[in-house]
């Protein structure tokens, strides 16, 4: 446990030294404030200027879901970029043969940041959401978005050979979020083209408040993590 904690402390120290974690924390809180207070103000302005009763209000739940997803995405992104730098500098390989071990490396770089992201996203969604959320739904949705964050970090790290490819992959991994707005805008069966994306099932679950959608949500998330983890595991071996 001691080497593990030391590895995690080293990781947090590096991220803090880079000011990245601070920026990520500020960005998530800023996003939360923007969604909670900015979006309703923009809605009022838009409704006044366009003479309509409702424009954005129908999509407040979508903004809440974005808030739930953004926190794990940002924290896992910072973690994945740090892992990529460590891989570039061969630190990752060295750490896996120290008492930290491969498991310790994965726990300190992937699991701990995700757990932190899970707690932070629960807090932000509880305090800054635009729509009423049952507490159980907050816990379940944030769990799914945190697993989605792990998928993004695994995708970014596994398919990049260096920092340049990492940035390109970071942009591409944003596509995993694309499933979120689909059930809000596409009502025909075409929406099921997005069924491999966990974000699609997260949105379906929250719109319908139907727990049945949690099954494909968890299944698709775990399939993504399982498939990407195999590549990740080979890379750090």
């Amino acid at each position: 446990m001691k080497p593990l904690l030391r590895s995690f402390t080293m990781f947090v120290g590096q991220v803090f030294k880079d000011t990245m974690l601070i920026a990520v924390c500020i960005a998530t809180v800023f996003t939360a404030f923007f969604i909670r207070f900015g979006i309703p103000s923009i809605e009022t302005l838009l409704c006044d200027s366009m003479g309509k009763a409702v424009i954005l209000a129908d999509y407040y739940l979508l903004f809440d879901l974005l808030l739930a997803l953004v926190t794990p995405y940002m924290l896992c992104y910072a973690s994945a970029m740090m892992m990529l730098v460590e891989y570039d500098e061969n630190i990752a390989g060295y750490l896996t043969v120290t008492p930290v071990g491969k498991k310790g490396y994965i726990l300190s770089r992937l699991v701990f940041p995700t757990v932190i992201a899970y707690i932070v996203s629960i807090a932000l969604l509880s305090w800054f959401s635009l729509t009423p959320w049952p507490i159980l739904n907050i816990f379940l949705t944030c769990l799914l978005t945190s697993i989605a964050g792990i998928s993004m970090a695994l995708l970014l790290f596994s398919f990049s050979h260096n920092r340049v490819e990492g940035m390109a992959m970071a942009k591409l991994s944003g596509l995993l979020m694309l499933g979120l707005p689909v059930p809000f805008f596409v009502f025909s069966d075409i929406q099921y083209l997005f069924l491999p994306l966990p974000s699609f099932w997260i949105a379906k679950f929250c719109i319908g408040q139907d727990f049945i959608f949690l099954i494909p949500g968890f299944l698709s998330s775990l399939i993504w993590v399982f498939l990407l983890y195999r590549k990740f595991d080979k890379k750090i071996a």
Partner: protein, 227 residues
């Protein structure tokens, strides 16, 4: 001649590391998304997409490119080669501006929002050079990618916020001196497109000169090489 070789090298680098593939996917995706939006939103949404993504590509990727070159000792080699810093800067800016302009043009044509192709091309091209110059300026003085990402946030806010406000209708006449607003004005073929062209050229020249100065200092400091 040297600049041609540098330019081809940079384009090959961007092709090898997936920039072209990435933006092929994003172009198709953006055009698809634009057609999913209500027609009245399409022009504003397309301009917003072009301004914040292909045009701003340099600001996003320059840190990774420069840090990769630093790690591979490319800059050390350049510092002792006959390549002049201005050639290095221009090559970086042009190579990214080419892909930005092509992607911007494809999104613009695909969504049918271009009314004056020449002004549109000038807007995206100069905008890309401006963003890339700022990216290169920041990248010259950082050591890690995370530092670069954090350092670009103020630049992004300063350029993006007034320009996005302009897209959504906040249009006092003085805003035309802002470089981001000039890019929007040119892409939209607005009433002030002519002064916007000159102002944007001035901003681009200014940013290139500033970047050249910083890159020169950075290259000269490598390996103890002095001017």
């Amino acid at each position: 001649m040297r600049i041609n070789v540098l330019l081809i090298g940079d384009i090959r680098f961007q092709f090898k590391y997936g920039f072209y593939f990435l933006y092929l996917i994003f172009t198709i995706l953006y055009i698809g998304l634009l057609f999913a939006l209500p027609e009245s939103w399409r022009e504003q949404a397309a301009i917003l997409m072009i301004f914040t993504d292909p045009a701003a590509m340099g600001l996003f990727f320059m840190g990774a490119i420069v840090l990769f070159e630093k790690g591979e000792r490319v800059l050390d080699s350049l510092a002792i080669s006959p390549v002049r810093p201005i050639e290095y800067v221009v090559s970086k800016l042009l190579s990214i501006a080419i892909i930005s302009t092509v992607v911007g043009l494809l999104i613009g044509l695909g969504s049918g929002i271009i009314t004056n192709p020449l002004l549109f091309i000038i807007g995206v091209f100069l905008g890309s050079c401006l963003f890339s110059a700022i990216g290169l300026l920041i990248a010259s003085n950082i050591t890690t990618l995370n530092q670069f990402i954090v350092a670009t946030i103020p630049a992004e806010i300063i350029i993006n916020v007034p320009a996005i406000a302009y897209i959504f209708g906040l249009k006092p006449s003085l805003m035309i001196v802002h470089p981001g607003v000039c890019i929007i004005e040119l892409c939209q073929n607005g009433d002030k497109a002519l002064p916007a062209t000159f102002i944007l050229i001035l901003w681009t020249i200014l940013s290139v000169l500033l970047t050249h100065r910083v890159v020169t200092g950075s290259l000269h400091s490598l390996g103890g090489v002095k001017p």
